[in-house]
């Protein structure tokens, strides 16, 4: 009976476009899965149910991305993982949104600054992708390239990748906004140390801002001084910090030396 429910709900879920409606459909589908004991794949679960379960979770994952709910998305990804690891003879990989969802998950980790999670996930992909490079995949290659550029510092390439329609699907666009503000902050902190001063007009290009007015407000939010159409960055060298360092340094040296003395005493 629950199986029939599930089969009824699925096509509706795929065609529905309103968030509220999909949400209620999803919870219905999940209850049906629970009755079938198929929320996680059991050795006895038939393939058809596995397939249906996977589709439900994939729909849920994409929906939560559109609704900008990262927690729900992460939950769905974790629920999907055991399904993706099933051998192909039990659950065929065809029609699966696996790469799209994994790519989105990678992007999410990237925007959260969770680099160790990102690389852990990537390491797994590298091995499980039988044949064919991970980077060549349309969905997976995108976050990987972004990460590489971010680490290098080629922010203009990141910007271009997001601005031009290289984004592999609409769901990926959700992250663009977060990424933009993230790289803008990165660039700002780099500029603070790298340039003694900058003209406002070129700062506009540097920070990918739309107008000079936006530059001025951004400068103010970061506490930069503006004089004669140039931005002056507050001087980074703070004497107070150095003094504190000096004190900490000598304290460390003393501690170390005392430590050596103690150790030597135990040895001799």
């Amino acid at each position: 009976m629950a199986e029939r429910d599930l089969q009824e709900v699925l096509p509706k879920l795929k065609s529905s476009h309103s968030y509220q409606e999909s949400l209620s459909l999803l919870s219905k589908a999940k209850i049906a899965l629970l009755k079938l004991n198929a929320l996680t794949p059991q050795p006895t679960t038939p393939s058809s149910i596995l397939l249906a379960a996977r589709e439900v979770f994939e729909a849920g994952a994409l929906l939560s991305i559109r609704a900008k709910d990262p927690d729900a998305f992460t939950r769905y990804v974790h629920q999907l993982t055991p399904f993706y690891e099933l051998p192909p003879e039990r659950l065929s990989a065809a029609n699966s949104e696996k790469n799209k969802i994994t790519g989105l998950y990678l992007l999410l980790l990237l925007t959260q600054g969770n680099y160790s999670g990102f690389h852990t996930e990537l390491e797994g992909l590298e091995l499980r992708q039988n044949g064919g490079l991970v980077e060549d995949d349309r969905f997976l290659g995108y976050p990987i390239k972004l990460e590489r550029w971010l680490m290098e510092g080629s922010y203009d390439l990141v910007w271009k990748a997001m601005a031009s329609r290289e984004v592999p699907s609409e769901e990926y666009g959700v992250f663009s906004e977060i990424l933009t503000s993230q790289i803008r902050n990165e660039i700002a902190s780099c500029s603070e140390t790298a340039y003694p001063s900058l003209p406002i007009s070129s700062t506009k290009n540097l920070l990918f801002l739309d107008s000079e007015g936006a530059v001025v407000s951004f400068a103010q939010s970061r506490g930069w001084a503006i004089k004669d159409g140039r931005i002056y960055f507050p001087n980074q060298v703070k004497m107070g910090v150095d003094e504190g360092n000096e004190k900490a340094l000598s304290q460390m040296v003393i501690e170390n030396t005392l430590g050596y003395a103690r150790e030597l005493e135990t040895i001799v």
């Binding site: 160790s116 690389h119 290098e152 080629s154 203009d156 500029s191 340039y195």
Partner: protein, 584 residues
Amino acid sequence: MPGKTPHTNGSNPVENGINGADDVEMKDDAPNQLKGGKGKKTKEGDEEMTVVVPPSKSTKLSATPPSKDSNGDVAMDGTEETNEEDAGAPKVDPVAKAISDIKSNFPLLERAVTLFDARFSLRALRSISSIRKRLTPDILAQVIAETYQSTSPAAKSLLVALDREHVAFGKSVSNEMEIDNESKAKNGKKEPKEIIPEVDIFLGILIQIYYLDNKLNQKGAVFSAHLAERIHSLNRRTLDSLSARVYFYYSLFCEQLAPLPPSPSSPVVSIRPALLSALRTAVLRKDIDTQSTVIVLLLRNYLSTSHIAQADLLISHTKFPENAANNQVARYLYYLGRIRAIQLRYTEAHEHLTAATRKAPSSPSAAGFSQTATKLLLVVELLMGDIPDRATFRIPSLERALQPYLQLVQAVRVGLLGEFENVIRQHGDTFRRDGTYTLILRLRQNVIKTGIRMMSLSYSRISLRDICIRLKLESEESAEYIVAKAIRDGVIEASLDRERGFMKSKEVGDVYATREPGEAFHDRIRACLALHDESVKAMRFPMNQHRLELKNAQEAREREREMAKEIQDGDLDEDDLGGEFEGM
């Protein structure tokens, strides 16, 4: 000779005196005693720890009557020595020799049980490597037939595993009589005694090894599963080191079965529950050998299917036993380093991997481990921004294996992006096989940073266009952002001029004005102190030695007192003498 009791050998000083090799063997044994499970690093060599016990100590050790250890040592030497004599005699049949070699281990196992000392079973395990080459089902079957009574169910199951269930139990015994009457007599005496489970398991391990060497993986896996079940039902501390071995081969079989590890349906996945329950039991029984082995096996298992998150969880939920065998510690550190490297925790990874390479056995049969560990260590060092020592690449055992890595290091050191990508293209498959590919891809930014640093050191002012051309970057804008990031990250000391488009380097400060030398010094001292502590811990002192010393001290004190007395008397004498002299 198998049947000889330790007692006769131990109290036979003439035999030991004659044999010149005896001392060497003693020394050989000593380090093994220090580190319990050494023999467990599979069949590959054992002697890597150079903890030297001064020879005077060991002689003292054998001189003190209460020390059982020394007694055992001497006995062991005795048997080995007679075995050598056997080998020397040309007419001895190699089959009979193999059989007697295998059987010579049974008294050791029995002694391990009666004395409750794991070292004897370890010694039995160590002898496997010499027996290994000669194993055939016939030899094993004969040993089983001679050891057990025909009604024993254990013998039956072992024989079935060998496809030799019809071996006659009686005949072989007489066969052995021809070879050696004396041992037969001893065996005859032992016959009514119950065969201890340790012997069962030992023979089981031998069968496992036979399967492994002959690539009978499917059979081996099934047999191992049975063996593991049997071990699980027995709760004997003297079985610990043996059961660790059983699990080791069990997981080795599974790794080599049909769908190889990276695929999710590999049998590797299906033995996880068995291993986890073995781990739980081992922890509850405080069975250090099995515990450490199984943890390492599980880590290897998870990493083979790259379930890094699970491996990380396993590490955080278990505690690796502190006094585990050295080889297991080395492996554990290697896997730990690998996981940390993937998680971008390079400092920790570096620490673990350095320890792993240092603990790796130096014998040539274990070269594979140190090669793999060194490869990973090199990549991690590069990722940390260090350039590995050139001498590492000249070590003969590593030289060939590290060739691709040498080219990689050279590309990173010079900071040439083109060359770096060339190396990746050229050796991509090697890196993939070594499991370092994704880590190496992360090096790209390091190459760029090194390139920028080189330029900032050599030019006081350089235009962004030149930087762009030198590093083969896509645009000047990229170059600008990259340089700005490098400045922010403290890679170079410089400033940018956007209007005129150049990078201006600042004067390089004196390194000795910074805290860097102090830190390097501190690191080295700490390493030395840790080494000292470890060697102190690794030393093994004879039991009750301190009492002897106390006694000595007491004697010395008495002697001193006497001496003082004498001196007092002497003083008097002197005075007397002096008096006389004066008188004269």
